[in-house]
């Protein structure tokens, strides 16, 4: 649709750069800027989806509801636990895998492929696989039975449900970040290690004083994007537990979904959306700053 329209605009005498930007600008304005602003307005409203005329502004009333909403507080707590639990584990495990990959070995491509594959699969499929894996008759319980450990409903016990989902998330994400770290490692000049070795540095010392400092920018970026992604955890719990048992795996985005599309409480749902926005916003700012130096006149890498 947009190409035809912009050609029409070209004939109307718009400067070429305006024509080039027009399709993007239209889509961006209609399906990002407008919903984004509308979402903010909704947060101050009692929006009636069945009779928009009956909607009214309620000031900060919706925001005040957050503090007394026990489901929200539980979802907030779970989301923070999820982020704090998965991001460091994924990062350290990815670093370890990347270090392991650095040594020469047969079948490295197969190893890289096996590590990477889960990260390009739909989270719906991954979540289903693990729902089965954790099920009472599933593979995990079968394996534990061999070790003499009794059967456990990993996703039906409130104490183990969230950690089980977190473990799955680490499994699904670790390979992707390991490959990124591995790429960062290969960019480090060999002679730096040779110099460190001449100075008598062992494997541990050269890791601490050569490798880690040099991949620090990559490390920071990985931490930030994984944190932003993890604050949005939804599909996992939607497919595996629907937030249960007893809200033990309820997350902010699941609570947002339930509030908006099960209770049709759009105004309050927008307020919940904004807490996700603010929480990950801090990390977004860091990420954007990392990208920004390349935006200047010397934009080329």
């Amino acid at each position: 649709m947009s190409a035809g329209r912009s050609l029409a605009a070209a004939r109307a005498g718009l400067p070429p750069q305006a024509v080039l930007l027009l399709p993007w600008a239209l889509v961006y304005a209609a399906f990002f800027v407008f919903p984004f602003v509308f979402s903010f307005v909704l947060g101050f409203m009692q929006y009636n989806p069945l009779n928009v005329g009956a909607s009214r502004f309620v000031g900060l009333e919706q925001f005040a509801r957050l503090a007394g909403d026990r489901d929200f507080l539980q979802a907030l707590r779970n989301t923070l636990l999820f982020v704090a639990g998965t991001v460091p584990v994924t990062t350290v495990a990815a670093l370890a895998l990347a270090l392991l990959m650095r040594a020469p070995m047969p079948g490295k491509d197969l190893f890289k492929a096996a590590l990477f594959l889960p990260s390009i699969l739909s989270m719906v499929v991954v979540a289903l696989l693990f729902k089965l894996f954790y099920a009472p008759g599933g593979a995990l319980n079968a394996a534990l039975a061999h070790l003499g450990v009794g059967m456990h409903g990993w996703l039906t016990d409130p104490r183990t449900a969230l950690p089980a989902i977190m473990a799955m998330d680490v499994w699904a994400a670790v390979g992707y970040y390991a490959i990124i770290f591995y790429a960062a490692f290969t960019a480090i000049p060999r002679d730096l290690y040779e110099a460190a070795e001449l100075d008598g540095a062992g494997a541990w010392a050269s890791l601490r004083h050569v490798t880690l400092p040099l991949i620090r920018p990559t490390l920071a970026f990985v931490l930030v994007i994984n944190t932003i992604r993890s604050f949005q955890v939804f599909v996992e719990v939607f497919v595996m537990t629907q937030g249960g048992p007893l809200g033990a795996t309820n997350t902010l985005v699941l609570h947002l979904y339930e509030t908006a599309f099960r209770r049709l409480d759009y105004g309050y749902a927008s307020v919940i959306a904004y807490t996700v926005f603010v929480l990950s916003g801090v990390f977004s700012v860091i990420a954007i700053r990392r990208l920004r130096p390349q935006v200047g006149p010397e934009g080329a890498r």
């Binding site: 649709m1 947009s2 070209a10 070429p16 750069q17 080039l20 930007l21 399709p23 993007w24 889509v27 961006y28 399906f31 990002f32 407008f34 919903p35 984004f36 979402s39 909704l42 989806p49 895998l97 040594a103 070995m105 079948g107 491509d109 197969l110 190893f111 492929a113 096996a114 590590l115 699969l121 739909s122 989270m123 719906v124 499929v125 289903l128 696989l129 089965l132 894996f133 390979g175 992707y176 490959i179 990124i180 960062a184 991949i215 990559t218 932003i228 949005q232 599909v235 985005v253 947002l256 908006a260 759009y266 959306a273 996700v276 916003g281 954007i288 990392r290 920004r292 934009g299 080329a300």
Partner: protein, 259 residues
């Protein structure tokens, strides 16, 4: 083999097994039917699922979003890289900012907007909002900034218009960037769940991930055989593409992450 090397090799084998095991399990369950190994579950979900329709929808949506992104993002990326734009830096900063924002913020307003436009449950709702992915604009702009504008200027001197230059001169030059755009866009949209789920409500408009997720919710007790067959159908195109283009996909999705 030295012991350290053997140990490392063993560790790698264990890890590969841990990564591959759940996928092998998925395949095994989808093929193990009451009457032995057969494709019966596949036939069932393909016809009654109806996964033939979900598959078609996923192909149409992913294809349309990809085509849209190639055109729209090439145009915008070219403009940001090569043209003087008033407020261009601010605009490009806005593009970058949107890459990092949680999309859930616009979920509810997007739903209301599509409802008011009467587009819920149409291909329009599943495609148009996603044809200007800011990450793609960023990629193309950065790639263009790294190559000199000589060819374009030569074409311009010969009197070629901007659209001709973009499609005849620039597009062939930025093929590597467009390949990354294609990988990123296809994977994101093929696997996308939340927005397609919210923006459709009839069985005939669901995409594969939504169809699979709903199959998992529908029954009182889960019918794993059929469910895994559905999961394999939705994952197989990705796995096959990955087997063929492994290096390009890994390279494309991780490039630019290390700086």
């Amino acid at each position: 083999m030295k012991p350290a090397r053997a140990l490392r090799f063993l560790a790698l084998l264990v890890i590969v097994a841990a990564m591959a095991y759940p996928l092998a399990w998925m395949l095994a369950l989808s093929l193990r039917t009451p009457d032995g190994t057969s494709l019966r579950f596949y036939r069932d979900v393909w016809q009654a699922g109806p996964f033939d329709r979900y598959f078609l929808n996923s192909v149409v949506v992913t294809g349309a979003v990809l085509a849209g992104n190639i055109v729209v993002c090439a145009m915008a990326g070219y403009a940001f890289a090569r043209h003087r734009i008033r407020g261009g830096r601010v605009l490009f900063f806005l593009v970058i900012s949107t890459i990092m924002l949680p999309k859930q913020v616009i979920l509810v307003p997007m739903y209301i907007l599509m409802q008011k436009l009467g587009l819920i449950d149409t291909y329009w709702a599943l495609t148009v909002p996603f044809i200007a992915d800011p990450f793609n604009i960023f990629l193309i702009r950065q790639y263009l900034a790294s190559i000199p504008p000589d060819c374009e200027e030569a074409a311009r001197l010969e009197g070629a218009g901007e659209m001709t230059i973009l499609f005849r001169v620039v597009m062939p030059m930025i093929k590597p960037a467009l390949a990354v755009v294609a990988i990123h866009t296809c994977l994101t949209n093929w696997n996308s769940f939340l927005f397609p789920f919210i923006l459709t409500d009839s069985t005939s408009m669901r995409t594969l991930p939504v169809g699979v997720a709903l199959l998992a919710q529908g029954a009182h007790s889960i019918d794993w055989g059929h469910l895994m067959a559905g999961a394999v159908i939705s994952a197989l195109p990705v796995i096959v593409a990955f087997m063929i283009f492994q290096r390009r996909i890994i390279g494309g999705l991780t490039s630019g992450m290390t700086r």
